[in-house]
Amino acid sequence: MVVSPLLFSLALSVTGFSPHLYAKAGSQPAAAASPAPSAEDLLKDSDRARGALEGGISWEIDVETFEEGGQNKVHYLVKVKGVDALAEAVSPARNKGETMLFNDRNLWFFKPGLKKPVAISARQKLMGQAANGDIASTNYYRDYEGKVTGEDKVGAVDCYKLELKAKAKNVTYDGIRYWISKKDHLGLKAEFLTVGGDMFKSALFKYNNKVTLEGKSMQFVSEMDILDTLKQGSHTVITYSNPKPENHPDSQFNINNLVR
């Protein structure tokens, strides 16, 4: 069975939220003029804008992959609660009904016609475009030790430049170079490093969506452009739409309920 790499990208993009870490949800980032915030605060704030919100949330995603010889686009509905996530393909017709379920780091795949969900190993998750999912992961505060190493610009935006080092060995990328805007504390650019310290992939983020949480409006990720450093001319654009906080029942994320 071949699992669509796009589906991996989508589903992995919503993994690993840790609501208990985000007590400051809805709070405003520090003003630009104030002393440089800690790396932890920067990571917490930037994670929130990429989906690490307390409670459940839903959104839609278009995952468009551009490779030599063509492009591919799949649309998904995504539901997230805590460390669990469920992503279901809506279109095109050939992918419709394909579902990915994340229970923390465990990944399951199901599609119509299968008798039961298939477990996807860590190795399979990282094949080809599948690694995009971990790039889109919003768990940097939990998974990485951060250090502000300087200041830089992404386009015209002033940013803090952070070096992130994996806290545990089971995190997909051993290191990340991360650019977080000074003004809004939004992660604008990331470079994902191999164990050897070489760049494996890079990503650019846009924040044109808004989410209202506890009566406050906040910027939310709208696009992620992932570039495969090892594969020339290949990149994936994930476009987020309709993000809305929702409380999902736990049963939706139960593997036994995946086969309907």
Binding site: S121, M127, A131, K169, D174, V195, F200, L230
Partner: protein, 446 residues
């Protein structure tokens, strides 16, 4: 009395030989049938023998499995995703190294590490699965005939910097092709003339990416220095060869998948295995030691050979049946045509058993002549096939194989013995009925 009796049998044997010579036209079909059967069985067995030796060589020498393999219990049946659960850790490696160092039969060992990941070259991206090896020791196990394993470029142990060889099929997928246009460099054994044949890669360096033991992403960058034949076509599309150290760096591990051992004297294998197993049991490690031919990696090929041997036996049975029927036909005709002769011989005092002996000797002579002819033709054909440089494509194999046949002395002896005994037995059976006839009746027979 005994001497007189013996003289009668000698006399009957001479008579039998005279009949064979005199009636050679009658016997020709039988001789040809038996000779053809002998030849077919001998050539087929010689071919199987060659195939078997090729496979043994392919695994033990070219494939660097030596005489035995050490790995974790159950590793042979484990899937790729269970790799780390079935890997040999540093403590166990140290134990193995110490044991091997102290054992008098030990000659050298090769460590293997299974790896799977992606090969990236420019816009190309494809999966690889392979075993990384100790390059130096691997070259020593491959020996003079197989140390040069590349069809194009150089083996990685001949290159100073860390590098990678690609299976031809994989090379093709990422635009690496041999540009060699010289004469045939594949030698009689299927090995290659050791020379750096040219090849070209659109992207001379490739990046291997894989997940580490801890499931993190890692990548290493290596120059492509050779293209090789990984044996099976499907394997060839995913095969790479890199040094163990590079693979351990890529997978960020100090573990290995297995160790193969080459002994100074392969005949001491069973004693060596017994000693090693005892040491492992004393230490309480969950390691198993297998003869190379019992290792799951080799089982499908050796199993295929077993099927061919069954086929050979079936073939032999059919050949024997044809031979027996042919001899029976000839002898029955011969006996029927010579009933009056039988009557005459009986009337002048020869006993039944003398006549049965005579016909049996005729059957034996026919089959022996046939086997001698079959043997001569087999030797000529074997020599011719071996020197004609014929090749054949064996379906799943990546490169054609030289068609070779071994001189299978054991098959010759067995075939000749079985065919002769059956021919003699058939002749004996057919002559028994005629020899029982009443003398007067036999002499009246028209």
């Amino acid at each position: 009395m005994a001497a007189q009796s013996l003289s009668v049998y000698v006399q009957m044997s001479r008579l039998a030989w005279r009949n064979v010579v005199r009636n050679w036209r009658h016997s020709l079909a039988t001789i040809l049938a038996i000779a053809s059967g002998f030849m077919a069985v001998s050539l087929f067995d010689g071919f199987l023998k060659e195939l078997h030796e090729r496979n043994v060589d392919s695994f033990t020498t070219r494939g660097m499995l030596g005489q035995l393999v050490i790995q974790k219990v159950g590793a042979g049946e484990a899937t790729a995703d269970d790799q780390w659960r079935y890997s040999i850790d540093k403590e166990q490696q140290d134990f193995i190294e110490a044991f091997l160092r102290d054992d008098p039969d030990f000659q050298r060992r090769v460590r293997f590490l299974y790896m799977v990941g992606m090969v990236n070259a420019g816009p190309y991206n494809t999966v690889f699965t392979s075993y990384a090896i100790d390059v130096k020791e691997g070259g020593e196990v491959r020996g003079d005939r197989w140390y040069w394993y590349t069809l194009a470029g150089e083996p990685i142990d001949q290159v100073k910097e860390p590098s990678i060889s690609l299976g031809m099929g994989l090379g093709h997928l990422i635009d690496c092709e041999s540009t060699y246009e010289g004469p045939n460099f594949i030698l009689e054994d299927g090995n290659y003339l050791p020379e750096n044949r040219p090849f070209i890669c659109k992207h001379p360096r490739v990046t291997l990416s894989a997940t580490t033991e801890a499931a993190q992403v890692n990548a290493i960058d290596l120059p492509v220095t050779g293209l090789f034949d990984a044996g099976f076509r499907e394997a060839d599309k995913r095969a790479i060869r890199v040094d163990l150290a590079q693979a351990q760096r890529l997978l960020d591990t100090d573990k290995i998948s297995m160790v193969s051992v080459q002994l100074k004297n392969p005949d001491n294998r069973e004693q060596f295995i017994a000693r090693l197993r005892k040491a492992i049991a004393d230490k309480g490690f969950d390691l198993q030691v297998d003869r190379w031919e019992d290792h799951p990696m080799t089982s499908y090929v050796m199993g295929g050979l077993q099927i061919l041997h069954v086929f050979r036996n079936l073939f032999m049975t059919i050949v024997v049946l044809i031979g027996v029927m042919s001899v029976a036909n000839t002898m029955m005709k011969s006996v029927n045509e010579r009933i009056r002769e039988i009557g005459t011989l009986r009337s002048i005092g020869f006993l039944r058993r003398h006549l049965v002996w005579m016909f049996s000797v005729e059957g034996a002579c026919l089959s022996l002549i046939a086997c001698v002819i079959g043997l001569a033709v087999t030797i000529v054909l074997t020599f011719a096939i071996d020197h004609m440089g014929l090749t054949y494509k064996a379906g799943i194999l990546a490169v054609p194989i030289n068609l070779k046949v071994r001189y299978s002395v054991s098959a010759w002896i067995i075939s000749a013995t079985v065919l002769s005994l059956l021919a003699t037995g058939t002749a004996w059976f057919c002559s028994r009925r005629a020899s029982r006839m009443v003398v007067a009746e036999a002499m009246r027979h028209v």
